[in-house]
Symmetry: C2
């Protein structure tokens, strides 16, 4: 099977959003995606880019993508975060995910990033086994915490009074 | 007890690195910190800033800090990551950590970030209970994965051949 990897352009953001929605469904959160195509274009391709995307293309169709951006480790320094690595269901098991993952590591290595980090669901054993096989570590004792816009505003209101 | 919060300056990076090292010891990883004062100054205060820091100061001494930077959620959009929230041991329990946390949420809210995310050790119940009390969520089923520079280079070498 032949496919090519390339940097995404604004015109790809429709397909990228489809992939984001497909992943949200896989993770049982189909309604969680609030981002729009316009957000992706504005945030990914304007002067101050919030992220970069590599897409996998086959017969002019986007069949996978990796979305990443810089982070900062206070232990190691400049690092990269792989926010999403997605391959369309019918194109999985063909090495496209591995190729995207490898492309992100190559980008990190070539640009002097000291670490690449990401998050994985604990029941996604196939993914975890793959990551471990590449030399990555998966931490059992760290928990991800998040506060969303509404909760944030509620907290700030409460704190002020 | 009176203290003030302010944006950090390059001159604070010595104290900030001390706090980073104190946290690494608390997390049983005293040798993990490879970052230097020069790294922090270069990465935090040059043209392309990798992070921002708010420090808590008491009698001209830095007693706490919060270090954060932008991320991107493909579900919510522009978000903020709180990499470190540290208060010197002898100054804990006095509201300084809460004040720093609140300052970061305020910054996020005022700058249009849709989410603030961070990581917490699963045995740090005091921290987790505090975060939950503010309206944050702590996810049991996500795992943090990382690949470090050396493992990355090894993997890329193996993949090429």
């Amino acid at each position: 099977m032949s496919y090519k990897l390339r940097n995404a352009s604004p015109e790809d953001m429709n397909s990228v959003l489809d992939l984001i929605r497909e992943l949200a469904e896989f993770e049982n959160q189909p309604d969680a995606v609030e981002v729009t195509v316009n957000d992706l274009i504005n945030d990914g391709f304007k002067e101050k880019r919030s992220f970069s995307v590599i897409v996998a293309e086959k017969n002019n169709e986007i069949v996978g993508m990796a979305l990443f951006y810089p982070r900062y480790s206070t232990w190691k320094g400049r690092s990269l975060h792989l926010e999403d690595l997605i391959v369309k269901k019918e194109f999985r098991g063909k090495g496209i995910g591995t190729a995207l993952y490898t492309a992100v590591l190559k980008y990190a290595d070539q640009n002097g990033y000291k670490r690449v980090a990401w998050e994985v669901l604990d029941w996604n054993k196939v993914a975890i086994d793959f990551y471990l096989s590449t030399g990555a570590r998966v931490f059992d004792d760290w928990r991800v915490a998040q506060i969303e816009e509404k909760a944030m505003k509620d907290y700030l209101k409460k704190t002020k009074s």
